[in-house]
Amino acid sequence: MIVFDKITKVYPDGTVALEEVSFTIEPKEFVSLVGHSGAGKTTLVKMLLSQENPSSGRVFYESLDINKLKKHEIHHFRRKIGTVFQDFKLLPNKTVYENISFAMEMSGRCDDEICADVPHVLDLVDLTHRAYNFPHELSGGEKQRVAIARAIVNQPDIIIADEPTGNLDPINTNDIIHILKKINDLGTTIILTTHNKGVIDSLGKRVITMEKGKIVRDDKSGKYVL
């Protein structure tokens, strides 16, 4: 369970990114955060990853106060979360296979596990034939599928997908959302930020709508309303 408790974020220049935001995400939920650019979606996501600290308020994962983690504890915590970003964030000097095995190496998995699991997730995202290509040789949709494979290979409790379809065409967008749904069905919590109306409307899952740093709607099976 993830709890955002009265989160306020004020930047040093006085910009208010978030104001008293509170909500809870249950295990195995599929939650979409929607809102215009600058509404505060990405800031929330960054707090969950301990990339940024709130000015006031607290973020909990189970009983863990995320923003009180010590520097050397952060990377252990991040291994529980898989991340997918709009700009893919793949390692340019590693092949598709290595990008995925890298995430497993980080978790201290042994070589046998890596050899067994990487082909499996590659198959899941339908990229077996691209295993030995470098990221710059892939299309946008393929890159994002690599990112998803990397995110799920360690079987995380949560997957954060921050505008994962922002750079993709409608067909690839559908593919990615389909994969995310499949992962959710297998029991992983998904947090998706997007401003793609079509995606939200087709999902039929919980939608939290944000505007100017505040939550304006929170619907159990919502539509994109802005």
Partner: protein, 310 residues
């Protein structure tokens, strides 16, 4: 787990090194230049030392004995001089030898030789040529000779030492010692400045190469990499650049010193650059390889460190 981590970090470091060909090439290039400067300074230092020693060897103090001095007295003076710790060598030139040398020196000069013949007896006294270990020690040796010469008398009751030419040489000797000292100090300063500047340039180049990888570092962090895992491969790449540059320099200098010696050996007044390089190779190898490894690994470590705050 420890060995697995080491294995993975090394593999990743080697992969990055070869896949980032251009970046690796530029750090190897810059580091090669740094090591070139360090090696040149070592060789120049060797040459300087050699030439200073040559000049030092040209300086000596001569003790002239009167013609009636007993050879045994002179030899006992020689012996007591040799027991002094400051003295590096004492050469005895007997009266007969002095005459032979004199005749040899004035071979074409009939007038002088004729005058010498007319004297009948050998007018030359024996001499001792004293070499000190360091030019600054001649003053002490001269003082010792003065004290001793007043005590040692010949059978005729005269002082056996006719004169010591230290006072004539004094100015030259003192000037030489001060030149030797300033050259040494100046040389060390030059070496320090050159080495510092090149180290700073190397550090900055490596910092730049890692700056280019800062997005990669943040991705690694997001995927959950510990700081050891992020730093490790960069340190390995830096270390590899250092080792490669060191090997390039060590081979290059074998060739360079050989050719300098072959074509320009005469300018080095008897100093054999190639031989010096070969005889001191192990020390130079230690310094160059050590500097390469430390420079490469340390610079990378420090440069990555600043991108690890998140």
């Amino acid at each position: 787990m420890f060995w697995l981590t080491i294995k993975r970090i090394s593999k990743s470091g080697l992969q990055n090194f070869f896949r980032n060909g251009f970046v690796s090439f530029s750090s190897v290039l810059v580091m090669t230049i740094t090591l070139f400067i360090i090696t040149s300074i070592i060789l120049l230092g060797g040459f300087f030392n050699y030439s200073l020693n040559q000049v030092k060897n040209k300086v000596d103090v001569n003790v002239y004995f009167i013609t009636t001095a007993d050879e045994s007295d002179i030899l006992s003076v020689k012996k007591s001089l040799e027991s002094l710790p400051e003295v590096s060598s004492v050469e005895y030139i007997s009266r007969d030898q002095a005459l032979v040398d004199f005749k040899e020196k004035h071979k074409g000069d009939d007038l002088t030789l004729q005058a010498l013949d007319e004297l009948g007896d050998n007018p030359l006294g024996a001499t001792l040529n004293i070499k000190a270990k360091d030019p600054s020690q001649y003053a002490g040796i001269a003082k010792y000779l003065d004290d001793m010469s007043s005590g040692t008398l010949s059978t005729g009751g005269l002082k056996i030492v006719d004169k010591v030419n230290y006072t004539q040489n004094k100015i030259v000797i003192e000037r030489l010692s001060s030149i030797v000292n300033s050259v040494n100090i100046l040389g060390i300063w030059f070496a320090v400045i050159f080495i510092l500047v090149s180290i700073i340039v190397t550090f900055n180049t490596i910092k730049l190469t890692i700056f280019m990888a800062k997005d990669e570092i943040s991705v690694m962090r997001l995927v959950g990499a510990s700081s050891t895992y992020v730093k490790g491969p960069f340190v390995i790449s830096g270390l590899l650049s250092g080792v490669i540059s060191a090997i390039i320099i060590l081979i290059a200098f074998a060739v360079i010193t050989f050719f300098i010696n072959h074509y320009y050996g005469l300018y080095f007044v008897g100093f054999n650059l190639f031989n010096y390089y070969i005889t001191n190779f192990l020390q130079i190898l230690g310094i160059i390889l050590g500097s390469g490894i430390v420079l490469g690994a340390l610079a990378s470590y420090l440069a990555v460190h600043r991108y690890l705050r998140n």
